[in-house]
Point group: C2
Chain length 361, copies 2
């Protein structure tokens, strides 16, 4: 829902105001054009980094060059180095094993490395396995700053058995179905709601990119790979997830966003029918991600929920909600709140950085 | 709702099965009778610790002796030492500053140190402030393993402004009011519900200890002290919280639990009236803790919530629920799930220990 560039800016803004981070220093910044490196032993200013980066004489270093520059810069001390990847770039993601092998932790809201090929993910896991070594921190890859990845990791590392993970994991899908199928009922047209969502910037430029469900499939991949029983299940990552696209068959492949939007009303009746048959059962429609460990199911798609289910009543705006049903939590552990937006995404990144900073060195 | 001894046992059971904890060793165990110390450079067995502890020739060492024994034991290496306090003891709690000053982190579900006098809390905070130094880890002090303390800390450390914290924070109170005042209405008697809760072991031996609200007041103290604006507000800790006791005035001071329970039905009409006036407004009753930062209010008591509020619909069993309303989350961040029980309490402790173990040394 937001450009990744905003996240980078707000991460730096939050870092500048973090009170307790005497142990954390920013020593390099890079965007697609320039690289800014601190003087040895010094930190970059978090006040005027923007103009300094713009005026830097160093171009955008290749990542291997960046690694050697950082190593040189920090050679004289024993400090732990972390790379923050605020891009949504596949090339940066595929470089994580190299960062980790160089001894750098990786902190990122970028879903690509964790939701793509299993080979890349395995390489990252392997590099994460050294005692006291660097780690990847990825709280913001699902639900932005909400405590989702951390909670799932805590459940698993302490020996709980995950039975089911179910959630509304896309802010855009949440908004669309909270409006289209509220617990109190509605007669609003699907295409009208998507149009308003697009006008307000809640969708990608091409709404088909949201309605495809691939964002939800990526998040399911990320979560399922943390569950030991499912770790090897999705060889092609999000492409291996059973995903229901909400783009009507008659619009599939329509690349032009304006044409897509213009023709979407032709299919409103289909959506009306789905809603009506849910309403007959006193249910609402939600686009959810579902991981059923016992049944070995990982899928993204439309589901019906009774009108008094938390997914029906409690949800509003573009909130995410996720429920973990486990051996220890037969009544599920629920987390809900804004799951997209630069502020809350940056928060997840900075909170992860604080965890890095608390480590020694 | 559970004896603390269970938590200690389950912490050790979870630790024994934690896969990734090659960096974590248990080197000492202590209960109220005995102390068991590992051989230098060795770890204790997590399989037969019970008989080893029982047969240990070392009595329960005073805490200062324990500190020097641990220091001696670990003198030859650079490892980080953490003390786990699974008691609910005030004396152990008041020793935390000494543990921290000795360089040991403290991991605990014991609420006492964080909900008692402000002086003790300040001493702990001061000892926590050293860069890369030992820290207190206290996730399980509120909501057991639910991500509550961690989430609040993450919000604050990343610069969010907390506006309101509101929640059903006592599993016992949750059970009682989910039964007494469900969204669908009920005519059950208050005293009957308390009696069943007591029979099932959901209450303290004397139910007045739950109905006093002091457990909720302690949790509010713990949470409010993490909010910078409120850090100095409760000089006497939980005793300074505006707390509504549900023990009827006519039963106040009744020390004998059986007499208390026998006489409780005399007051059912009072509770019926409270429920009826909530039902008239289409509301349910919940015993909640409330922290309103802007209005400078910290209080525990009965409140009414509309029947479609998450506290009314979503809650069941003895679940806790907590909502954080902040500058970044104007629609609140919600966390819900079992908030008591040895398993989930131990989980919070072990997850905190894993965080300690990820730190270097």
């Amino acid at each position: 829902m937001t450009g990744q560039i905003d996240v980078a800016i707000i991460v730096l803004r939050q870092l500048a105001t973090v009170p307790a981070l005497s142990t954390l220093r920013v020593v390099a910044l890079q965007n697609s054009k320039k690289t800014l490196l601190a003087q040895p032993g010094q930190a970059l200013s978090l006040q005027d980094w923007k103009s300094q980066l713009e005026n830097s004489s160093v171009s955008d270093l290749a990542l291997d060059k960046l690694v050697s520059s950082l190593k040189e810069l920090e050679a004289s001390n024993q400090r732990h180095i972390a790379v923050i990847d605020n891009t949504s770039n596949d090339d940066v993601a595929s470089f994580y094993p190299s960062f980790l092998e160089a001894g750098f932790s990786v902190v990122t809201p970028n879903k690509k490395a964790f939701s793509g090929s299993l080979d890349l993910f395995k390489a990252i896991e392997k590099a994460n396995a050294k005692p006291y070594g660097p780690l990847t921190y990825q709280e913001s890859t699902v639900g932005a700053g909400l405590p989702i990845i951390g909670s799932l990791n805590d459940l698993i590392v302490t020996g709980d058995k995950i039975k089911k993970i179910e959630g509304v994991l896309s802010g855009t899908m949440s908004y669309i179905f909270n409006e289209f199928s509220p617990a109190a009922g509605s007669s609003a047209k699907f295409s009208d709601i998507v149009r308003v969502a697009r006008q307000n910037g809640y969708t990608e430029p091409h709404p088909g990119d949201d309605l495809s469900g691939s964002d939800v499939a990526r998040k399911l991949t990320i979560l399922s790979r943390l569950v030991p029983e499912l770790a090897d299940k999705l060889p092609e990552g999000f492409k291996s997830v059973d995903t229901q696209s909400l783009t009507p068959a008659g619009l599939a492949g329509e690349q032009d966003a304006d044409t897509y939007m213009k023709r979407l009303p032709e299919f409103d009746t289909e959506f009306d029918q789905l809603r009506a048959s849910a309403q007959e059962k006193k249910c609402v429609l939600r686009y959810v991600g579902l991981i059923d460990v016992e049944k070995n199911i990982i899928k993204a798609g439309l589901e019906s929920y009774p009108a008094d289910h938390p997914f029906a009543t409690s949800l509003g705006g573009s909130d995410n909600i996720i429920s973990f049903t486990t051996e220890r939590y037969p009544r599920p552990l629920l987390v809900q709140g804004a799951g997209a937006g630069a502020d809350v995404t940056a928060m997840g990144v900075v909170a992860d950085l604080v965890r890095v900073a608390e480590r020694r060195g």
